[in-house]
Amino acid sequence: MTEQLPIVIILGPLLAATVAAFAAWIHPKASHPLVVTGLVASFAAALKLVFVVAEKGAQKYWLGGWGAKPEHGVVGIQITVDHLNTLLLAAVSGIALLTALYAKRLVNTELPGRQRYFYALFALLITGLLGIGITGDIFNLYVFMEIAALSSYALIAYGKGRAYMAAFNYLIMGTMGACLYLLGVGFVFIKTGTLNIDNISAALPALGQGQALFVGFVLILLGAWAKMAFFPFHGWLPNAYTHAPTASAVVLAPLATKVAVYTMLRVMVTVYSIDYILHSPGIQSVVLGLSSIAIVVGSFFSLTQTNLKMIACYVVLSEIGYMVGGAWLANEPGLTGAVYHVVADAAMTSALFMAVGCIVYRLGQAQLDDLRGVFFKMPVTMAAFVVTMAALIGVPPTCGFFSKWYLIQGAAQSGVWHFVAALLLSSLVKAIILFRIVEIGYNRVPHPSVDGNPAIPRNEAPLSMLIPTVAMALGLIALGLATSPLVNTIIAKALPATLAP
């Protein structure tokens, strides 16, 4: 039974997407429960696999049985759940499930009459993202990348108005990224003659430091960077996620970029190796520099914005710098921090966008000036918001503290002080944003408990949105408390034997 679990993870949302599209054709309200069912199956399988992997090690599954027998070798498509991706799969399917429950109310009010195919696209997006996470074949990864990308263009374009142009720019950038990735795959294929990740990593050490392999590596990296909105390619993200309907942004912002970061990690750690990176001089210090710039630029722009959604988008941009930088430190604490931060950041940005979504749902707008008295109107939402911001700043015992701790430790160990400075600066900036919002939301109205001041009526977000938001915020603390078992039993085993000092 256990051996069939890996395929359930992608089959759940894939079948749900197909059935939901037809069901929506017959009845517009039929698709939501179907998609939720598919995501429940997917999340249950992913959660079970976390324990299986922690206990027994990597689980491999060969589609159609091709490659299961020794005389075939691996000629078909392999899907793998190992220490590197099992937490990501659980996080993506779990967050997707919570978001699907959260989004129902939002979709009904934001897209009245147009919600028919929303959930089918939603499930298709999750299929793509989980597929990128689970596949053990670099060409298959490209296909899943495009499935996820195509459905996200459509989900963004649901926003109408400016969303069309934002989605178009994302489409151009995303297609360029995917094409560069595909070209890189071609170079790897020329040298190794295989697309299976295990086969490639077995064949690469004997091939040394050839030019074709290096070009392939750089092209794949550029492709992943365009998809994750890393510094020079970040232009599309803020507009796309701000003008998208909130229901789309809540699922896209935390998951799409994180899965692209995982692609980069997979290529660095398993396909190529840390050893290979350490033997390609120059590129490491350039990427570390870019990561610091990404953090500083994201932080700076998040301070200049006055729209809450825009601020959240730039926070996402600066967080990308954390993960890329941590991965390219290539030492033990740095890589641990990067792998852990992929999961932690997916949870943190999800909680952030959920809280912002609740505020937008009630206030209709998300300009900072509209937030006056919001702490009295929506106390529970704002409590979740403050916990999330605390996690993003890095206050213990939330998960944000631990990942930042590993990253700073890694940077200090390698002596990359500009990265340490950028991390601390970004924490400071997030603290300023939090205090600014507290100042506007709490202090700029006459305090209602003082006699003679007008009472502010409570106008909390509906329960179907509030419960996932609070659950996610509490999850940040739970994830933080679970850091040491997660790192010791799973993440530590995902790291390769050779690492930078």
């Binding site: 495009e146 069309y164 989605a167 178009f168 489409l171 360029m176």
Partner: protein, 121 residues
Amino acid sequence: MENLIANFNYVIVVILMMIGLWAMLAQKNLIKKCIGMAIFQTGIILFFISIGAKRLAKVPILSGDGVPVVDKIANPLTQILMLTAIVVGVATLGMGLALAQKIFRQHASFDEDDILKNQRK
């Protein structure tokens, strides 16, 4: 130089990809951007087909008995990969054109500068 002539298909791949990339990034017209995207993808398809092709090679179909001589058959894998890539390319191009059409209905223009000016109003 002889190397370039012997591998002229790769030269064409590079030219096609440069044209496509330039059109995607530097052109202001949305339709031209879509055309650039299609040319870029075509370049990659040609690249993959080139790496699987061999001179005077046969189709990779097993006939009768005996082990196939790998030198005499074309690599089928790259062609199958490109079938998938063509499907992906068609889907992206369709999506891009659909978005361009929506934008045109809103702003009555395909020009990026006009659209941005319109949005600022």
